[in-house]
Subunit: 274 residues, 2 copies
Protein backbone atom coordinates (compact mmCIF):
# COMPACT_ATOMS: atom_id res chain seq x y z
CA UNK A 1 0.00 0.00 0.00
CA UNK A 2 1.34 3.41 -0.93
CA UNK A 3 2.45 5.47 2.06
CA UNK A 4 0.85 8.81 2.70
CA UNK A 5 3.13 11.34 4.36
CA UNK A 6 1.63 13.48 7.09
CA UNK A 7 3.49 16.59 8.23
CA UNK A 8 3.08 18.40 11.52
CA UNK A 9 4.42 21.92 11.17
CA UNK A 10 4.94 24.32 14.02
CA UNK A 11 6.89 27.38 15.01
CA UNK A 12 7.15 25.68 18.37
CA UNK A 13 7.18 22.07 19.59
CA UNK A 14 4.58 20.63 17.24
CA UNK A 15 2.62 19.10 20.13
CA UNK A 16 -0.59 20.93 19.22
CA UNK A 17 -0.37 20.02 15.52
CA UNK A 18 0.33 16.38 16.43
CA UNK A 19 -2.54 16.19 18.88
CA UNK A 20 -4.96 17.72 16.39
CA UNK A 21 -3.78 15.57 13.51
CA UNK A 22 -3.85 12.40 15.56
CA UNK A 23 -7.46 13.01 16.62
CA UNK A 24 -8.54 13.45 13.03
CA UNK A 25 -6.52 10.65 11.47
CA UNK A 26 -7.83 8.07 13.95
CA UNK A 27 -11.24 8.61 12.36
CA UNK A 28 -10.04 6.81 9.25
CA UNK A 29 -9.21 3.19 8.78
CA UNK A 30 -6.18 4.05 6.63
CA UNK A 31 -3.01 3.32 8.57
CA UNK A 32 -0.41 3.84 5.88
CA UNK A 33 0.80 7.13 7.29
CA UNK A 34 4.41 8.21 7.51
CA UNK A 35 4.44 10.95 10.11
CA UNK A 36 7.02 13.73 10.18
CA UNK A 37 7.16 16.60 12.64
CA UNK A 38 8.93 19.78 11.55
CA UNK A 39 9.15 21.89 14.70
CA UNK A 40 10.61 25.32 15.40
CA UNK A 41 9.90 26.81 11.96
CA UNK A 42 10.68 30.34 13.06
CA UNK A 43 12.74 31.81 10.24
CA UNK A 44 12.13 32.36 6.55
CA UNK A 45 14.87 29.85 5.74
CA UNK A 46 13.28 27.15 7.84
CA UNK A 47 9.88 27.82 6.24
CA UNK A 48 11.40 27.47 2.78
CA UNK A 49 13.21 24.29 3.80
CA UNK A 50 9.91 22.84 5.04
CA UNK A 51 8.34 23.65 1.64
CA UNK A 52 11.18 21.83 -0.12
CA UNK A 53 10.75 18.81 2.19
CA UNK A 54 7.01 18.65 1.50
CA UNK A 55 7.39 19.15 -2.24
CA UNK A 56 10.09 16.50 -2.44
CA UNK A 57 7.61 13.96 -1.09
CA UNK A 58 5.03 15.01 -3.62
CA UNK A 59 7.49 15.00 -6.49
CA UNK A 60 8.71 11.52 -5.62
CA UNK A 61 5.33 10.34 -6.89
CA UNK A 62 3.47 9.57 -3.67
CA UNK A 63 -0.02 10.83 -2.87
CA UNK A 64 -0.51 14.44 -1.80
CA UNK A 65 0.97 14.99 1.68
CA UNK A 66 -1.35 16.07 4.49
CA UNK A 67 -0.07 19.09 6.40
CA UNK A 68 -1.30 19.91 9.90
CA UNK A 69 0.00 23.29 10.82
CA UNK A 70 -0.05 25.60 13.81
CA UNK A 71 2.20 28.39 12.58
CA UNK A 72 1.18 31.76 13.88
CA UNK A 73 3.12 34.25 11.81
CA UNK A 74 1.45 35.25 8.55
CA UNK A 75 4.67 35.57 6.56
CA UNK A 76 5.78 32.01 7.27
CA UNK A 77 2.30 30.61 6.78
CA UNK A 78 2.21 32.31 3.38
CA UNK A 79 5.47 30.61 2.41
CA UNK A 80 4.26 27.22 3.62
CA UNK A 81 1.02 27.49 1.69
CA UNK A 82 3.12 27.22 -1.46
CA UNK A 83 3.90 23.61 -0.58
CA UNK A 84 1.95 21.04 -2.53
CA UNK A 85 -0.20 19.39 0.13
CA UNK A 86 -3.59 19.41 1.85
CA UNK A 87 -3.20 22.23 4.39
CA UNK A 88 -5.19 22.00 7.61
CA UNK A 89 -4.34 24.97 9.78
CA UNK A 90 -5.98 25.65 13.12
CA UNK A 91 -5.24 29.36 13.00
CA UNK A 92 -6.86 29.66 9.57
CA UNK A 93 -9.95 27.89 10.80
CA UNK A 94 -10.54 29.31 14.23
CA UNK A 95 -8.65 32.53 14.82
CA UNK A 96 -11.11 34.85 13.05
CA UNK A 97 -14.30 33.74 14.82
CA UNK A 98 -12.45 33.76 18.13
CA UNK A 99 -11.09 37.27 17.53
CA UNK A 100 -14.57 38.51 16.61
CA UNK A 101 -16.10 37.03 19.76
CA UNK A 102 -13.34 38.35 22.04
CA UNK A 103 -13.37 41.72 20.28
CA UNK A 104 -9.59 41.68 20.12
CA UNK A 105 -6.97 41.19 17.44
CA UNK A 106 -4.67 38.19 17.90
CA UNK A 107 -1.05 38.96 18.73
CA UNK A 108 0.41 36.66 16.06
CA UNK A 109 3.30 36.06 18.43
CA UNK A 110 4.65 32.56 18.12
CA UNK A 111 5.42 30.12 20.80
CA UNK A 112 3.08 30.94 23.57
CA UNK A 113 1.23 27.65 23.60
CA UNK A 114 3.80 25.47 25.30
CA UNK A 115 6.01 28.30 26.44
CA UNK A 116 7.02 29.01 29.95
CA UNK A 117 4.41 31.70 30.14
CA UNK A 118 3.91 30.85 33.74
CA UNK A 119 6.83 30.06 36.02
CA UNK A 120 4.34 29.24 38.71
CA UNK A 121 2.86 26.44 36.60
CA UNK A 122 6.34 25.10 35.85
CA UNK A 123 7.19 24.99 39.54
CA UNK A 124 3.93 23.25 40.37
CA UNK A 125 4.57 20.54 37.81
CA UNK A 126 8.11 20.02 39.09
CA UNK A 127 6.94 19.86 42.69
CA UNK A 128 4.17 17.42 41.84
CA UNK A 129 6.70 15.26 39.97
CA UNK A 130 9.03 15.25 42.96
CA UNK A 131 6.10 14.32 45.15
CA UNK A 132 5.20 11.42 42.86
CA UNK A 133 8.80 10.17 42.91
CA UNK A 134 9.11 10.43 46.70
CA UNK A 135 5.77 8.69 47.20
CA UNK A 136 6.11 6.01 44.56
CA UNK A 137 5.53 2.37 45.39
CA UNK A 138 4.69 2.94 49.04
CA UNK A 139 8.01 4.64 49.67
CA UNK A 140 10.04 6.93 50.85
CA UNK A 141 7.96 9.77 52.20
CA UNK A 142 4.47 8.34 52.73
CA UNK A 143 3.57 11.97 52.80
CA UNK A 144 -0.08 11.16 52.26
CA UNK A 145 -1.45 14.15 54.14
CA UNK A 146 -0.70 16.43 51.21
CA UNK A 147 -1.55 13.91 48.48
CA UNK A 148 -4.47 14.69 46.21
CA UNK A 149 -4.97 11.03 45.38
CA UNK A 150 -3.35 7.72 46.40
CA UNK A 151 -3.44 4.98 43.79
CA UNK A 152 -3.49 1.40 45.01
CA UNK A 153 -3.17 -1.80 43.00
CA UNK A 154 -0.92 -4.77 42.34
CA UNK A 155 2.56 -4.59 40.88
CA UNK A 156 2.49 -3.51 37.21
CA UNK A 157 -1.09 -2.31 37.17
CA UNK A 158 0.04 1.11 35.92
CA UNK A 159 0.39 3.06 39.16
CA UNK A 160 3.77 4.72 38.59
CA UNK A 161 3.27 6.05 35.04
CA UNK A 162 -0.20 7.28 35.97
CA UNK A 163 1.13 9.16 39.00
CA UNK A 164 3.90 10.72 36.92
CA UNK A 165 1.49 11.72 34.17
CA UNK A 166 -0.91 13.28 36.71
CA UNK A 167 2.04 15.27 38.06
CA UNK A 168 3.52 16.41 34.75
CA UNK A 169 0.25 17.15 32.98
CA UNK A 170 -1.92 18.46 35.78
CA UNK A 171 0.37 19.27 38.72
CA UNK A 172 -1.65 16.80 40.81
CA UNK A 173 0.00 15.24 43.87
CA UNK A 174 -0.42 11.52 43.29
CA UNK A 175 1.08 8.89 45.59
CA UNK A 176 0.87 5.17 45.05
CA UNK A 177 0.94 2.12 47.28
CA UNK A 178 1.35 -1.46 46.06
CA UNK A 179 -1.00 -4.16 47.30
CA UNK A 180 0.99 -7.25 48.25
CA UNK A 181 0.66 -10.49 50.21
CA UNK A 182 0.45 -8.53 53.43
CA UNK A 183 -2.88 -7.02 52.37
CA UNK A 184 -4.11 -10.13 50.58
CA UNK A 185 -3.63 -12.39 53.61
CA UNK A 186 -5.43 -10.13 56.05
CA UNK A 187 -7.88 -8.59 53.60
CA UNK A 188 -7.18 -5.30 55.40
CA UNK A 189 -5.64 -2.07 54.29
CA UNK A 190 -3.03 -0.57 56.64
CA UNK A 191 -4.17 2.14 59.03
CA UNK A 192 -2.10 4.88 57.42
CA UNK A 193 -4.06 4.33 54.20
CA UNK A 194 -7.45 4.05 55.89
CA UNK A 195 -6.82 7.43 57.50
CA UNK A 196 -6.81 8.79 53.93
CA UNK A 197 -9.59 6.55 52.68
CA UNK A 198 -11.32 9.29 50.67
CA UNK A 199 -8.11 9.77 48.66
CA UNK A 200 -7.76 6.12 47.66
CA UNK A 201 -8.33 5.12 44.05
CA UNK A 202 -7.82 1.62 42.71
CA UNK A 203 -6.29 0.32 39.51
CA UNK A 204 -7.36 -3.09 38.27
CA UNK A 205 -6.21 -4.90 35.16
CA UNK A 206 -7.09 -7.95 33.12
CA UNK A 207 -5.20 -11.06 34.37
CA UNK A 208 -3.95 -12.12 30.92
CA UNK A 209 -2.66 -8.66 30.25
CA UNK A 210 -0.95 -8.48 33.62
CA UNK A 211 0.72 -11.85 33.00
CA UNK A 212 2.03 -10.54 29.71
CA UNK A 213 3.36 -7.34 31.29
CA UNK A 214 4.99 -9.16 34.20
CA UNK A 215 6.65 -11.68 31.90
CA UNK A 216 8.44 -8.80 30.21
CA UNK A 217 10.02 -8.10 33.56
CA UNK A 218 10.55 -11.61 34.89
CA UNK A 219 9.74 -14.39 32.49
CA UNK A 220 9.69 -17.23 34.99
CA UNK A 221 8.51 -17.87 38.53
CA UNK A 222 5.54 -17.13 40.71
CA UNK A 223 5.49 -13.38 39.99
CA UNK A 224 4.29 -13.80 36.42
CA UNK A 225 2.38 -17.06 36.82
CA UNK A 226 -1.28 -17.10 35.80
CA UNK A 227 -2.24 -18.54 39.17
CA UNK A 228 -0.51 -15.86 41.20
CA UNK A 229 -1.79 -13.03 39.00
CA UNK A 230 -5.37 -14.29 39.27
CA UNK A 231 -5.06 -14.64 43.04
CA UNK A 232 -3.71 -11.11 43.45
CA UNK A 233 -6.38 -9.52 41.26
CA UNK A 234 -9.20 -11.44 42.98
CA UNK A 235 -8.02 -10.32 46.40
CA UNK A 236 -7.53 -6.78 45.17
CA UNK A 237 -11.10 -6.54 43.95
CA UNK A 238 -12.30 -7.88 47.31
CA UNK A 239 -10.42 -5.09 49.04
CA UNK A 240 -11.81 -2.44 46.65
CA UNK A 241 -15.33 -3.71 47.30
CA UNK A 242 -14.89 -4.09 51.05
CA UNK A 243 -13.83 -0.47 51.49
CA UNK A 244 -15.93 0.98 48.66
CA UNK A 245 -12.87 2.25 46.81
CA UNK A 246 -13.56 3.50 43.26
CA UNK A 247 -11.37 1.92 40.62
CA UNK A 248 -10.68 1.81 36.93
CA UNK A 249 -9.68 -1.15 34.78
CA UNK A 250 -6.49 0.01 33.10
CA UNK A 251 -6.49 -2.76 30.49
CA UNK A 252 -8.23 -0.87 27.74
CA UNK A 253 -7.02 2.62 28.48
CA UNK A 254 -4.00 4.74 27.72
CA UNK A 255 -2.18 6.62 30.47
CA UNK A 256 -4.00 9.79 29.38
CA UNK A 257 -7.38 8.13 29.72
CA UNK A 258 -6.65 6.52 33.08
CA UNK A 259 -5.53 9.92 34.39
CA UNK A 260 -8.58 11.75 33.04
CA UNK A 261 -10.91 9.14 34.47
CA UNK A 262 -9.31 9.48 37.89
CA UNK A 263 -9.74 13.25 37.87
CA UNK A 264 -13.29 12.95 36.57
CA UNK A 265 -14.25 10.31 39.15
CA UNK A 266 -12.59 11.85 42.20
CA UNK A 267 -13.20 15.50 41.43
CA UNK A 268 -9.56 16.26 42.28
CA UNK A 269 -8.74 19.75 41.04
CA UNK A 270 -5.84 20.23 38.69
CA UNK A 271 -3.17 22.60 39.92
CA UNK A 272 -2.10 23.32 36.34
CA UNK A 273 -4.27 23.97 33.30
CA UNK A 274 -3.27 24.16 29.68
Amino acid sequence: MVERTVFFLSDQTGVTAETLGHSLLTQFSARNFRKMTLPFIDTEDKAKEAVRTINAVRESGGPKPIVFSTLVQDEYRAILKEANGLHLDIFDAFLDPLAAELGEKPSFEPGRAHGMSDIDAYMKRIEATNFALANDDGGISRNYDVADVILIGVSRSGKTPTCLYLALQYGVYAANYPLTDEEFESGDLPDFLLKQKEKLFGLSIDPDRLCQIRKERRAMGKYSSAQQVRFELRETEKIFRRYGIPYVDTTKFSIEEISSRILDSTGVERRVRP
Copy 2:
Protein backbone atom coordinates in the same frame (compact mmCIF):
# COMPACT_ATOMS: atom_id res chain seq x y z
CA MET B 1 -13.04 42.30 34.69
CA VAL B 2 -15.87 40.00 33.68
CA GLU B 3 -14.86 36.37 33.44
CA ARG B 4 -15.27 34.54 30.17
CA THR B 5 -15.98 30.84 30.55
CA VAL B 6 -14.21 28.50 28.15
CA PHE B 7 -15.43 24.92 27.84
CA PHE B 8 -13.49 21.96 26.53
CA LEU B 9 -15.91 19.24 25.47
CA SER B 10 -14.95 15.72 24.55
CA ASP B 11 -16.30 12.21 24.34
CA GLN B 12 -12.90 11.20 25.66
CA THR B 13 -10.28 12.83 27.87
CA GLY B 14 -10.52 16.39 26.58
CA VAL B 15 -6.76 16.58 25.99
CA THR B 16 -7.14 17.42 22.29
CA ALA B 17 -9.76 20.12 22.90
CA GLU B 18 -7.62 21.64 25.65
CA THR B 19 -4.48 21.64 23.53
CA LEU B 20 -6.26 23.25 20.61
CA GLY B 21 -8.03 25.82 22.76
CA HIS B 22 -4.90 26.70 24.63
CA SER B 23 -2.97 27.35 21.41
CA LEU B 24 -5.65 29.71 20.17
CA LEU B 25 -6.35 31.54 23.42
CA THR B 26 -2.69 32.36 23.98
CA GLN B 27 -2.94 34.54 20.86
CA PHE B 28 -5.04 37.01 22.82
CA SER B 29 -4.06 39.27 25.63
CA ALA B 30 -7.31 38.58 27.48
CA ARG B 31 -6.59 36.42 30.52
CA ASN B 32 -9.95 36.47 32.23
CA PHE B 33 -10.81 32.92 31.27
CA ARG B 34 -12.48 30.42 33.53
CA LYS B 35 -11.68 27.05 32.01
CA MET B 36 -13.87 23.98 32.43
CA THR B 37 -13.30 20.57 30.90
CA LEU B 38 -16.31 18.32 30.41
CA PRO B 39 -14.82 14.94 29.41
CA PHE B 40 -16.44 11.60 28.57
CA ILE B 41 -19.61 13.02 26.99
CA ASP B 42 -20.65 9.68 25.56
CA THR B 43 -24.38 9.46 26.25
CA GLU B 44 -27.37 11.61 25.33
CA ASP B 45 -27.88 12.45 29.00
CA LYS B 46 -24.33 13.69 29.39
CA ALA B 47 -24.65 15.78 26.22
CA LYS B 48 -27.84 17.38 27.54
CA GLU B 49 -26.22 18.01 30.91
CA ALA B 50 -23.33 19.76 29.16
CA VAL B 51 -25.82 21.98 27.32
CA ARG B 52 -27.46 22.90 30.63
CA THR B 53 -24.05 23.71 32.16
CA ILE B 54 -23.11 25.96 29.24
CA ASN B 55 -26.48 27.68 29.13
CA ALA B 56 -26.43 28.28 32.87
CA VAL B 57 -23.23 30.28 32.43
CA ARG B 58 -24.80 32.32 29.64
CA GLU B 59 -28.03 32.89 31.57
CA SER B 60 -26.15 34.09 34.65
CA GLY B 61 -25.36 37.19 32.59
CA GLY B 62 -21.74 36.63 31.64
CA PRO B 63 -20.35 36.93 28.11
CA LYS B 64 -20.98 34.16 25.60
CA PRO B 65 -19.02 31.05 26.56
CA ILE B 66 -16.40 29.74 24.13
CA VAL B 67 -16.74 26.04 23.42
CA PHE B 68 -13.85 23.97 22.05
CA SER B 69 -15.18 20.60 21.10
CA THR B 70 -13.84 17.32 19.79
CA LEU B 71 -16.97 15.19 19.88
CA VAL B 72 -17.11 12.68 17.10
CA GLN B 73 -20.66 11.40 17.13
CA ASP B 74 -23.11 13.45 15.09
CA GLU B 75 -26.06 12.94 17.42
CA TYR B 76 -24.25 14.34 20.46
CA ARG B 77 -22.69 17.17 18.47
CA ALA B 78 -26.19 18.13 17.28
CA ILE B 79 -27.37 18.29 20.89
CA LEU B 80 -24.37 20.35 21.97
CA LYS B 81 -24.83 22.84 19.16
CA GLU B 82 -28.01 23.92 20.93
CA ALA B 83 -25.92 25.39 23.72
CA ASN B 84 -25.56 29.15 23.64
CA GLY B 85 -21.86 29.63 22.96
CA LEU B 86 -19.24 30.16 20.28
CA HIS B 87 -18.63 26.63 18.98
CA LEU B 88 -15.21 25.78 17.61
CA ASP B 89 -15.16 22.13 16.59
CA ILE B 90 -12.19 20.46 14.97
CA PHE B 91 -14.28 17.76 13.35
CA ASP B 92 -16.57 20.37 11.77
CA ALA B 93 -13.60 22.24 10.40
CA PHE B 94 -11.28 19.53 9.16
CA LEU B 95 -13.02 16.19 8.79
CA ASP B 96 -14.61 16.88 5.39
CA PRO B 97 -11.48 18.02 3.55
CA LEU B 98 -9.51 15.17 5.09
CA ALA B 99 -12.14 12.60 4.08
CA ALA B 100 -12.16 13.96 0.53
CA GLU B 101 -8.38 13.76 0.27
CA LEU B 102 -8.18 10.26 1.76
CA GLY B 103 -11.16 9.11 -0.31
CA GLU B 104 -12.68 7.48 2.74
CA LYS B 105 -15.58 8.17 5.06
CA PRO B 106 -14.66 8.79 8.71
CA SER B 107 -15.73 6.12 11.19
CA PHE B 108 -17.33 8.54 13.66
CA GLU B 109 -16.23 6.18 16.39
CA PRO B 110 -15.36 8.03 19.55
CA GLY B 111 -12.37 7.68 21.70
CA ARG B 112 -9.67 6.57 19.42
CA ALA B 113 -7.42 9.58 19.90
CA HIS B 114 -6.02 8.80 23.32
CA GLY B 115 -7.25 5.23 23.43
CA MET B 116 -5.12 2.19 23.96
CA SER B 117 -5.27 1.50 20.25
CA ASP B 118 -1.80 0.16 20.46
CA ILE B 119 -0.68 -2.06 23.33
CA ASP B 120 2.79 -1.96 21.91
CA ALA B 121 2.95 1.82 22.31
CA TYR B 122 1.68 1.52 25.88
CA MET B 123 4.37 -0.99 26.73
CA LYS B 124 7.06 1.17 25.17
CA ARG B 125 6.01 4.18 27.22
CA ILE B 126 5.98 2.12 30.41
CA GLU B 127 9.37 0.61 29.66
CA ALA B 128 10.86 4.01 28.86
CA THR B 129 9.42 5.37 32.12
CA ASN B 130 10.96 2.51 34.08
CA PHE B 131 14.25 3.18 32.34
CA ALA B 132 14.09 6.86 33.29
CA LEU B 133 13.38 5.99 36.92
CA ALA B 134 16.18 3.42 37.12
CA ASN B 135 18.62 5.82 35.48
CA ASP B 136 17.61 8.98 37.28
CA ASP B 137 20.19 11.16 39.00
CA GLY B 138 23.17 9.00 38.10
CA GLY B 139 21.67 5.97 39.80
CA ILE B 140 20.79 2.82 40.07
CA SER B 141 21.34 1.14 36.75
CA ARG B 142 23.72 3.37 34.80
CA ASN B 143 22.44 1.36 31.93
CA TYR B 144 23.74 3.91 29.47
CA ASP B 145 24.37 1.48 26.64
CA VAL B 146 20.68 1.37 25.80
CA ALA B 147 19.97 5.04 26.54
CA ASP B 148 18.87 7.24 23.66
CA VAL B 149 20.08 10.35 25.42
CA ILE B 150 21.83 11.18 28.70
CA LEU B 151 21.04 14.57 30.19
CA ILE B 152 23.70 16.23 32.32
CA GLY B 153 23.45 19.36 34.41
CA VAL B 154 23.47 20.66 37.97
CA SER B 155 20.92 19.76 40.63
CA ARG B 156 17.49 21.28 39.83
CA SER B 157 18.24 22.19 36.24
CA GLY B 158 15.21 20.17 35.08
CA LYS B 159 16.79 16.79 34.29
CA THR B 160 14.31 14.48 35.99
CA PRO B 161 11.03 15.94 34.70
CA THR B 162 12.48 16.20 31.20
CA CYS B 163 13.55 12.54 31.25
CA LEU B 164 10.13 11.47 32.48
CA TYR B 165 8.37 13.57 29.86
CA LEU B 166 10.56 12.15 27.09
CA ALA B 167 9.63 8.67 28.30
CA LEU B 168 5.89 9.20 28.75
CA GLN B 169 5.34 11.29 25.63
CA TYR B 170 7.78 9.77 23.17
CA GLY B 171 8.93 6.43 24.62
CA VAL B 172 12.49 7.75 24.51
CA TYR B 173 15.07 6.18 26.87
CA ALA B 174 16.48 9.18 28.71
CA ALA B 175 18.99 8.83 31.55
CA ASN B 176 20.37 11.69 33.57
CA TYR B 177 23.53 12.33 35.51
CA PRO B 178 24.08 15.22 37.93
CA LEU B 179 27.20 17.35 37.68
CA THR B 180 28.67 17.88 41.16
CA ASP B 181 31.85 19.01 42.86
CA GLU B 182 33.63 15.92 41.60
CA GLU B 183 33.29 17.09 38.01
CA PHE B 184 33.76 20.78 38.82
CA GLU B 185 37.04 20.23 40.65
CA SER B 186 38.65 18.14 37.92
CA GLY B 187 36.86 19.71 34.96
CA ASP B 188 36.54 16.16 33.62
CA LEU B 189 33.56 13.98 32.92
CA PRO B 190 33.79 10.39 34.20
CA ASP B 191 34.88 7.73 31.73
CA PHE B 192 31.54 5.91 31.71
CA LEU B 193 29.95 9.10 30.39
CA LEU B 194 32.69 9.85 27.88
CA LYS B 195 32.17 6.40 26.40
CA GLN B 196 28.68 7.63 25.51
CA LYS B 197 29.74 11.12 24.56
CA GLU B 198 27.51 11.32 21.50
CA LYS B 199 24.47 10.71 23.73
CA LEU B 200 25.22 13.54 26.15
CA PHE B 201 23.00 16.60 26.17
CA GLY B 202 23.37 19.46 28.63
CA LEU B 203 20.82 21.50 30.55
CA SER B 204 21.80 24.96 31.67
CA ILE B 205 19.71 27.48 33.59
CA ASP B 206 19.82 31.10 34.64
CA PRO B 207 21.55 31.52 38.04
CA ASP B 208 18.83 33.68 39.59
CA ARG B 209 16.20 31.22 38.56
CA LEU B 210 18.19 28.30 39.92
CA CYS B 211 18.64 30.10 43.24
CA GLN B 212 14.91 30.58 43.43
CA ILE B 213 14.20 26.91 42.64
CA ARG B 214 16.77 25.63 45.12
CA LYS B 215 15.48 27.89 47.87
CA GLU B 216 12.12 26.17 47.56
CA ARG B 217 13.92 22.99 48.51
CA ARG B 218 16.40 24.27 51.06
CA ALA B 219 16.05 27.91 51.99
CA MET B 220 19.41 28.29 53.71
CA GLY B 221 22.97 27.16 53.22
CA LYS B 222 25.48 26.75 50.48
CA TYR B 223 23.16 24.73 48.18
CA SER B 224 20.95 27.69 47.35
CA SER B 225 23.49 30.49 47.78
CA ALA B 226 24.05 32.82 44.83
CA GLN B 227 27.79 32.23 45.01
CA GLN B 228 27.54 28.43 44.86
CA VAL B 229 24.94 28.49 42.08
CA ARG B 230 27.07 30.82 39.97
CA PHE B 231 30.14 28.67 40.53
CA GLU B 232 28.33 25.46 39.54
CA LEU B 233 26.83 26.97 36.38
CA ARG B 234 30.13 28.52 35.30
CA GLU B 235 31.94 25.20 35.69
CA THR B 236 29.11 23.38 33.94
CA GLU B 237 29.36 25.61 30.88
CA LYS B 238 33.12 25.06 30.82
CA ILE B 239 32.52 21.31 30.71
CA PHE B 240 29.90 21.64 27.96
CA ARG B 241 32.30 23.73 25.89
CA ARG B 242 35.34 21.56 26.59
CA TYR B 243 33.62 18.41 25.30
CA GLY B 244 31.47 20.12 22.68
CA ILE B 245 28.24 18.97 24.32
CA PRO B 246 25.07 20.57 22.92
CA TYR B 247 22.86 22.14 25.55
CA VAL B 248 19.69 24.10 26.06
CA ASP B 249 18.96 26.84 28.57
CA THR B 250 15.88 25.59 30.41
CA THR B 251 15.09 28.96 31.96
CA LYS B 252 12.62 30.17 29.38
CA PHE B 253 11.15 26.88 28.27
CA SER B 254 8.44 24.54 29.42
CA ILE B 255 9.11 20.82 29.85
CA GLU B 256 7.44 20.23 26.47
CA GLU B 257 9.73 22.70 24.74
CA ILE B 258 12.90 21.42 26.37
CA SER B 259 11.98 17.88 25.29
CA SER B 260 11.17 18.89 21.72
CA ARG B 261 14.40 20.84 21.43
CA ILE B 262 16.40 17.85 22.64
CA LEU B 263 14.79 15.58 20.04
CA ASP B 264 15.21 18.22 17.34
CA SER B 265 18.85 18.86 18.20
CA THR B 266 19.98 15.26 18.69
CA GLY B 267 17.88 13.61 16.01
CA VAL B 268 16.87 10.90 18.52
CA GLU B 269 13.94 8.98 17.06
CA ARG B 270 10.75 8.71 19.05
CA ARG B 271 9.64 5.18 19.84
CA VAL B 272 6.04 6.32 20.16
CA ARG B 273 4.11 8.73 17.96
CA PRO B 274 0.75 10.29 18.53
